[in-house]
């Protein structure tokens, strides 16, 4: 029963998007939920090597925008491409492995230890288990690998969640309020993540309510209000 045979027809995963094409290109993207607009006619372009911050108050649609770029949320209007794939097109799943995302809640399993959590993420992306341990050490949690996630403090979980993005080298890094619950030392992880990505011709989209904080990390900050980029 070959559910999975070697896929010949499939394009290679790290498709070299030529350096002058934008990694993210949204044209008049709208999202509405139950008829209420959450995003309206958003235009956004992210070029290779660029880092962009989106600032705005609660409920402005920042996380939704991030969800659209991460291919989680299907836009109800407009069009756009992410890493060369049309949004909601048949190729979106293929580009997912090149996207790194950290939401405002950590994506860790409470019943597993931090080490097991990172090991799972590493093995699912084709890295050796040791890679998981290595990134944990990088974010300063080398000694905490044996602790179950449910026993960890919020700050530790944030660090471990960011460590997920260090396993591979995603071309597109999406961060949602990444500094929430992080101390001064740990904020350097975000800095490292952003410079690492942009130096490799990737792009970063970072969302926060704190415009001043954002400008310390990214090249350019735009503001969002009531579902619009202003």
């Amino acid at each position: 029963m070959p559910i999975h045979s070697k896929r010949v027809s499939r394009p290679p995963d790290f498709q070299p998007v030529s350096s002058d094409l934008p990694l993210v290109d949204l044209v008049d993207v709208s999202v509405s939920l139950g008829g209420a607009p959450v995003l309206s006619k958003c235009r956004l372009t992210l070029d290779p090597g660029e880092s962009l911050g989106v600032a705005g108050p609660n409920g402005a649609g920042k996380s939704t925008l991030l969800g659209v770029v991460a291919t989680f949320i299907t836009p109800t209007g407009g069009s756009g491409t992410v890493l060369g794939a049309l949004l909601a097109g048949p190729r979106t799943p293929a580009v997912r492995s090149q996207i790194g995302w950290s939401g405002h809640l950590p994506a860790l399993y409470p019943d597993l230890t931090l080490g097991e959590n990172l090991a799972l993420a590493a093995r699912l992306t084709g890295h050796p288990v040791s890679r998981g341990r290595k990134v944990l050490t990088q974010v300063g949690l080398g000694a905490a690998a044996g602790i179950r996630a449910e026993r960890c403090s919020n700050g530790m979980l944030r660090r471990a969640d960011l460590a997920r993005l260090l396993i591979g080298s995603p071309r597109l890094v999406l961060l949602d309020e990444p500094d929430a619950g992080l101390d001064q030392d740990a904020a350097a992880i975000i800095d490292h993540l952003i410079t690492r990505t942009t130096r490799r011709d990737g792009a970063v989209l970072c969302v926060s309510h704190d415009a001043a904080r954002l400008s310390g990390w990214v090249d350019r900050v735009v503001e969002m209000r009531e579902g619009r980029i202003v």
Partner: protein
């Protein structure tokens, strides 16, 4: 206007069907009890038709993502559940005098029909739980497309297994029925099909209005504003 014409037409057809149902001859064995057939069989037929349309609507939505497909799927499922219930109820009422029991547990036709009823009841329950039309369509289309496999199972159950329920009356080798009865049954089948079309059109129109109303009610601006703490205390 066309909608109203269809409604009138199906009303007239139902009337004709009813008259034929009462003027057709009684059955040699069952006597007047046979007349319940003229509701029972068309209801069951509508249920099959309706669930087929639900599956078509679900698959159509999955491929095109056009909301009209989903509305048709929902409307059809509601009609289907209603007429499955009518078919079950009339079957039970018919069964008591004619078979000697309302329900028989060993009978495959009864068992599979009840199963179909419950699955589509679940389909409707699933739809009730989501308010956003697109999310609702996403959830229910998978179930709507998969659940239709039961329809042929219900229809052919009397052929596949030994049942208390009678076999197929309308078969490729002819209709096992008196001519006047066939006329009455066909008239009622046609009338019920017209009724189905009417209900489907009205229900989808209603769903369209509901969706439009929901998006009108929805706040056009962000629900979060600047806190006004000073005012509240003053």
């Amino acid at each position: 206007m066309k909608k109203r014409l269809l409604a009138v037409l199906s009303g007239v057809a139902l009337g004709v069907g009813l008259i034929l149902a009462f003027t057709s001859p009684p059955d040699l064995l069952q006597g007047d009890f046979v007349r319940i057939l003229y509701i029972h069989v068309p209801s069951a037929w509508l249920a099959f038709l309706a669930f087929g349309v639900t599956a078509a609507g679900s698959i159509g939505w999955l491929f095109t993502r056009r909301m009209s497909w989903d509305r048709a799927a929902e409307a059809s499922a509601e009609i289907g559940v209603l007429f499955t219930a009518i078919a079950l109820a009339t079957g039970m009422i018919w069964g008591k005098p004619v078979w000697g029991t309302y329900w028989d547990w060993g009978d495959a036709r009864l068992a599979t029909t009840a199963m179909m009823f419950f699955v589509y009841l679940g389909y409707l329950a699933l739809r009730r739980t989501t308010t956003d039309p697109r999310l609702r369509a996403r959830r229910s289309s998978v179930l709507g497309a998969v659940a239709v496999v039961q329809v042929p199972l219900v229809y052919f159950s009397v052929k596949l297994w030994r049942t208390l329920h009678q076999g197929l009356t309308i078969r490729p080798d002819g209709i096992q029925m008196d001519g006047a009865m066939v006329a009455a049954l066909m008239a009622n089948l046609a009338a019920f099909t017209l009724l189905y079309a009417t209900l489907l059109i009205y229900r989808t129109a209603l769903a369209r209005i509901e969706e439009a109303a929901a998006s009108e009610r929805a706040p056009a601006r962000s629900p979060v504003t600047v806190p006004r703490l000073g005012e509240a205390e003053a």
